[in-house]
Symmetry: C2
DNA sequence: GTCTATAATCGGATAGAC
DNA sequence: GTCTATCCGATTATAGAC
């Protein structure tokens, strides 16, 4: 049988997309290779033509999820305030397709091995850079770090609470607070 | 063989202590019943005389870890500022015996079933109440929520980064920021 | 490159002796 | 109440056909 040159890469991307979705939604351990491959429209046997282990998939999937989330929130946010508002929105909390791995996997990653933590750290630093580069943003390092913690921490916490009223209040409060620091030292 | 009336309860507490330690350190999935029982000085077979399932143990262990952490930080903190400083300290980050499950398991819990999330929510509300009751603390709800997010989110994030310099900076920045809000509306 | 079938392992839960 | 031995389901990874 003959395969298009692009076919393998397409399959690989399908697997990664499915994995990014499932891992951020259910965590590493609650997702089997079967689940990922089924979601990608294939069966288990094909997996190892693309990745050497579930761990390798995990790392790449987290990266992909991070890029996808970043891009999504960037595209829909002209200002730093928009970015914060969108990130800490109920849409993000409930979204079926966009979930930031920094929030979905904060504590998960802490229990994984160093390589996963390194990947996470890399994504986190990209997140910081993004926050910092928004033109009208207060970009002292401490202000940026605080925003990041309020965004990631607020969203992570909201996801773990059964009291959805309280979860929403957290999102709202963090959103408002994260917008304040940038006014100090900004131009208007 | 005859057993002291207190023996069973002692064993139970040993198991819970070991479980609280292991689960907050490694997460639910990376810890087997074997591990817990070995740490408690027993073998697997004895487990089911105390708990009906690993899940049941998880819930109780989280509660125990929460109470232990709360008590530890309360005891060593006269003021709200002390509490924040101690919670966001490097000692807490590196501690072998005291780790707050709210930070260690934020995103883990999000992937678990409702009952675990309910337990987590309960602990979180206790945490809020504690923050609120500190006499000199600013206790508007929003201020308390922000402190909680900075503490839990900051510690969770610090645990997941390989860049320990950055992790420390996060702890320090969150610590300072969490102390600010309470000055508004306080008495001095 | 993807499939089906299977090997190998690990971990939760149970049974029965003491 | 705790032990050892065992069952059993789930899941990662591999083998070999197409």
């Amino acid at each position: 049988m003959v395969w298009k040159a692009s076919h393998k890469e397409e399959s690989r991307q399908k697997i990664l997309t499915a994995a990014a979705d499932l891992f951020t939604r259910k965590g590493f351990n609650r997702v089997g290779i079967d689940d990922v491959m089924a979601a990608a429209g294939m069966t288990r046997g094909a997996f190892y033509a693309h990745f050497s282990s579930k761990f390798e998939l995990y790392e790449e999937a987290i990266l992909k999820a991070g890029r996808a989330a970043m891009q999504h929130f960037e595209e829909n946010s002209a200002s730093s305030e928009d970015l914060i508002k969108n990130y800490l929105s109920e849409e993000h909390l409930l979204s079926d397709d966009i979930r930031c791995p920094l929030a979905c996997l904060v504590s998960d990653v802490a229990h994984d091995d160093v390589r996963v933590k390194q990947t996470y750290t890399k994504i986190f630093k990209g997140f910081l850079k993004n926050l910092q580069e928004k033109p009208e943003s207060g970009n002292e390092e401490s202000a940026v770090l605080l925003k990041a913690v309020l965004m990631i921490g607020g969203m992570a916490l909201a996801r773990s609470l059964t009291d959805k009223q309280l979860a929403k209040k957290i999102l709202k409060t963090c959103s408002e607070a994260a917008m304040v620091p940038e006014r100090e030292g900004s131009n208007y």
